[in-house]
Symmetry: C2
Amino acid sequence: MSLFRPQVQQMEGYTPGEQPQESGWVKLNTNENAYPPSPRVLEAVQQTLSGRLNIYPDPLATEFRKAAAELFDVDPDWILPGNGSDEVLTILMRTFVDAGELVSAPYPSYTLYETLAEIQGARFQKIQLNPDWSWPDAAQSQIGESKILFVPNPNAPSGNRWSDEQLLSLIPARGVLVLDEAYGDFCDQPHRGELLKSEQGEKLIVTRTLSKSYSLAGIRFGFAVAHPDLISGMRKVKDSYNCNTLSLAAATAALKDQEWMQENTEKIRTTRRYLVEQLRKLGFEAVDSQTNFVWCTHADKQHERRYQELKQRKILVRYMKFSLTEGTLDGLRITVGTDAEIQHVLDALQEIG
Amino acid sequence: MSLFRPQVQQMEGYTPGEQPQESGWVKLNTNENAYPPSPRVLEAVQQTLSGRLNIYPDPLATEFRKAAAELFDVDPDWILPGNGSDEVLTILMRTFVDAGELVSAPYPSYTLYETLAEIQGARFQKIQLNPDWSWPDAAQSQIGESKILFVPNPNAPSGNRWSDEQLLSLIPARGVLVLDEAYGDFCDQPHRGELLKSEQGEKLIVTRTLSKSYSLAGIRFGFAVAHPDLISGMRKVKDSYNCNTLSLAAATAALKDQEWMQENTEKIRTTRRYLVEQLRKLGFEAVDSQTNFVWCTHADKQHERRYQELKQRKILVRYMKFSLTEGTLDGLRITVGTDAEIQHVLDALQEIG
């Protein structure tokens, strides 16, 4: 007899990208930002250290919510802070989805959605995207009874972005649409929650992370933006003290230094264009990415070999493989690092052939 | 039609103790440690700040688990780190308890267990303790089908500690016993997971926090210690990156400075004895506490008035009220602060009458 819930007993568990703890790697596998966070973040943490770590953080995250609310031009009760946007996704699942209910997501996409649905005991349905990453015509009818449809906006691992009309057409009749905007700041035209203010906005939840555009994967901070009616339910599920004093200070300072974030994302956009262009010259098909990574495939299908040979050169990229209704799709997802890192991986790819 | 799960729609949500954000309060309401954390904690965070916050933390928390394992004289695969021990409790619920299954806890006790059971859609059963905080004779039969029995060891809000034999007798036939040892380091004879190594230890999980004895409520860090078979299931449920780079560094440094923690807990034990003695002189009944707080009641039952009058003097203690099968139990839970703070609250109580 297992003591675990049957779901937990059966499941594999999510496997995060490799995180080598020793130095010397060119790490282009988990979409971290190659540039450091704002110096104001470090100052804010320093200042907090001289304060009182022996007392609990502000359970209302007042300062952080104020800063995030300003950025999205909403009231602070539209904001829910999380210990990484992964925690926000967990909170969403526990707020909206009962065991046996349906959760959907496009496919290929972020694989954590399925893991979280499994843990919750929900049914999970993949909506297979067309080969050009567009939605199938029958998308809306497939979404059907979903309590949550998770849609990365822009998508991962492809990096493409769908139109606002497309996204709004996907809102489930009896559930909510979660736009996972982990990479939203990297778009050529970054979005700022405009869809939340549309007529259908009351059934929309936007999630954001500070891991990517703000260069703060190490502090684990994300947040949700949604109508206060939705946030109020999520707040009941969230741990009172889910964000710590240091990460709250860091996140607030990061949001307040928009200039720093925008300079870095602009650099990344420039490097991204170069990477896409060069990958195509090397014979790859590469998606016009709106994120800080590029998805590429090669007609010769030797993606896994290239991944391995790059790894031997201490360059980590992400090799991904997806089972489709017919056959499989595999390819390489390369994080847009610094110019030097990208030149390094391009030179290596040329060498490897 | 509500979009929320029925459980979430119906529940009130957990109310944490008051956390005034302005200064000037004598804060004896949420069992924080009046003394600062080890200077080595601050050094460790400083050092981490000069490192790379733009990359993800170590998902295996290798250094932290090594330090915690040494402390409990087990292998690192006995340790699961959490974003506060509250998160560990959530992970336990999601690992072991399906909707409709039974969760039990003594009563009065920590009220978060019930909130977490509600969120999970579990049935929750209070096992009412005797007026002297001992277990009722029928405890074992009441535990019955429980998947988890949560037992604070020592208990809150009473501060009493039960014998090892008593605790081992409570292990549910088809579930696990969780010993929530948030206050374990404050015992006259602190425990270090000895029960885990007993014959029944494979169905035991010990949870620990750094919020109390290590003076680190601000960094949100807790952990579980249990047989690797149990930890392996919990690991599937945990977010990969639930602990951040700064809190991991802080927690590891804190565990490594045992001397600092022990000096502080010893001071608190001394102050605690004085507080209990003086409360009794003022006409209160006070439990011989094994924690960093003291539960006291007065024959005149005017606990709420005293709470309010203390609050007017900017002294926060916790007023608590529990519905029993017959009548109610209310009283004051006073955190053992510094000698000066405790003298201050005692003087105020004398004045208030």
